[in-house]
């Protein structure tokens, strides 16, 4: 139940924080540096995974332009 509540709250906050940006307004969002995937290259990411006791967080998020 707590998990569902958490997901619901996150979804509501996300929806509230989400702007309505039209496709023709996404020039900056489409810039390659705006891709939300993990910024670390494969090598450093491997090093961090070994040297830190934590894992996860490497973003599976797609596209900078929001249009995938």
């Amino acid at each position: 139940m707590k998990l569902y509540s958490f997901i619901g709250i996150v979804s509501l906050l996300a929806s509230a924080g989400c702007a309505s940006v039209k496709p023709y307004e996404r020039g900056k969002l489409a810039h390659p540096t705006m891709l939300l995937g993990d910024q670390s290259r494969a090598g450093p990411a491997h090093i961090y995974a070994i040297h830190e006791g934590a894992v996860g967080g490497d973003s599976g998020a797609k596209g900078g332009c929001g249009c995938n």
């Binding site: 929806s15 810039h31 540096t33 090598g43 040297h51 894992v55 995938n68």
Partner: protein, 489 residues
């Protein structure tokens, strides 16, 4: 939209001149009809775009040139937006307000409308990309790694599919304090890792699959997984999910494979990508990783001290000091056979006029009691159209697992016998530590479209880790660099 703006302007322009309203309204009505049926060839775009009545007058060739001022080709922008390059031009140059007719004509040498070549056709068909990368790592604990890798793939963003492959070799040479403390010789090992991924978009869904294999003399890892993403709210909100299963075999080089131990990891990921504004995008993500099986390292031994002696072994105690105080018994590392690991992370990207700010934060907790925070920052500067430069900062801080002890003491048993703690580890990555990494990178665009895109990428980082409660060392300094050549054709 375009027609509506004209209508709204007319009354403002005619304010106070009531006798002109009827002819102006008639003119506006006629203009609407002309706009709808004749004036704007890209009707779908005109329905949503800001007023830009001058755009159709600009020769197509000039529009494409203007678009190419930004990074990436007009075609790549077109694929992102699923509109034609001419329409992208309008977006790039009219972010908020309509501009004058002369604004787009920035290149005096551009051909006139009469002599302009036909605009490039909308990009379609697959594009290939390939890269070759070599990385080098070295640290003050005498560990050196050389990692050449190659990757390649095909992607058709219009059709919505992609396939990618990656192959990496790690050559590790180590004489770390952990190795020396067990009187083991310096060793060199080679790891091979390959991965393949693919995805297909069936609007609004994108599904993907991945497979990874990693092989070294004493470790075999196989991973398979799937991803699902979809778009909501006009693609301003994109949830995504991922699942993977990893099956590992862990052994020793001198041990028959039949005696190797197994480890399984199920990983889940759920996240949301949010468009926060015209120049900002972010994501929130939850990760769960559930490890089961043999989670220790077969080569790792843990020194055991007599009851009451542990406090005498301070942080950073040398090998000699440890050897003088420890008991003869030196059992293998032993860890719980289950570990549930959770991370919540936020990623933010903001694009300024000629730079991009990237911020990432991860909060981590697991069932072994380890808590951690990782923060990362990149600020990517465009220094001209062919050069990017970025500083990079990463900070990681973590506590210890619940069973961590710098110096494990034997447990007195009946009859004077001594036992050893059931859970014991010498893995200082499970101890309290803080890491700061500072570095930077650069991307040089050697060749741009049309033709093959060639990029040269160089990154270098230096870092230091402080161990506040570990044997042998209290800090470790590291340096890391990568040189990559990327091509897209």
């Amino acid at each position: 939209m375009k027609a509506q703006s004209v209508v709204t302007r007319v009354p403002r322009a005619a304010a106070g001149v009531t006798d002109l309203r009827q002819p102006l309204a008639l003119f506006a009505f006629v203009l609407i009809l002309v706009t709808i049926f004749i004036g704007v060839p890209h009707r779908a775009f005109a329905e949503t775009a800001k007023p830009k009545t001058h755009a159709p007058k600009v020769p197509p060739a000039k529009k494409t040139r203007t678009t190419s001022k930004t990074r990436g080709s007009a075609a790549s922008f077109a694929r992102h937006h699923e509109v034609k390059p001419e329409e992208i031009y309008l977006e790039e140059d009219t972010p908020t307000e309509p501009t004058t007719p002369s604004a787009p004509v920035i290149d005096d040498t551009a051909p006139t409308a009469s002599e302009a070549p036909a605009p490039p056709p909308p990009a379609s068909g697959p594009k290939a990309h390939a890269s070759f990368e070599t990385s080098g790592y070295t640290d003050s604990d005498h560990v050196h790694v050389l990692s050449p890798s190659i990757s390649g793939g095909l992607a058709d963003e219009v059709a919505g599919w992609s396939v990618n492959g990656h192959y990496l070799v790690d050559v590790v040479s180590a004489a770390s304090v952990d190795i020396v403390s067990t009187a083991s010789p310096h060793w060199t090992e080679v790891r091979h890792a390959g991965s393949a991924t693919g995805s297909i978009t069936l609007d609004p869904f994108t599904v993907g699959a991945l497979g990874v294999i990693s092989r070294e003399p004493d470790y075999l890892s196989l991973t398979g997984g799937a991803t699902l993403g979809f778009d909501l709210m006009d693609k301003n909100l994109s949830p995504y999910f991922a699942f993977s299963h990893e099956a590992d075999s862990v052994g020793r080089t001198d041990m028959p494979h039949d005696y190797w131990r197994s480890k399984h990891v199920n990983s889940l990921q759920a996240g949301l990508t949010l468009v926060l504004g015209r120049a900002s995008i972010g994501s929130l993500q939850w990760d769960g990783s559930f490890e089961r099986g043999y989670l220790a390292k077969p080569y790792r031994y843990v020194p055991i001290f007599a009851p009451g002696q542990g406090a005498a072994v301070g942080p950073g105690a040398t090998i000699d000091q440890v050897n003088q105080l420890r008991l003869n018994a030196r059992p293998n590392e032993q860890l719980p056979t289950a570990r549930d690991r959770y991370a919540v992370s936020a990623h933010l990207a903001h694009r300024y006029t000629s730079s991009t700010l990237r911020l990432d934060e991860r909060l981590y907790a697991d069932s072994w009691g380890l808590l951690a925070s990782t923060s990362e920052l990149r600020y990517i500067l465009d220094l001209g159209s062919r050069l990017e430069l970025w500083p990079h900062l990463r900070f990681h801080v973590q506590g210890a697992v619940s069973f961590w002890q710098r110096a494990y003491e034997a447990i007195p048993g009946p009859g004077g016998a001594l036992g050893v703690p059931v859970l014991r580890t010498g893995d200082r990555e499970l101890s309290p530590l803080q890491t700061v990494v500072v570095g930077g990178g650069t991307r040089i665009k050697l060749a741009e479209p049309p033709g093959t895109e060639w990029d040269l990428v160089f990154e270098a980082d230096v870092g230091t880790t402080h161990f506040s409660d570990a044997l042998y060392i209290t800090s470790r300094q590291m340096a890391y660099s990568t040189l990559a050549v990327e091509a897209q054709f």
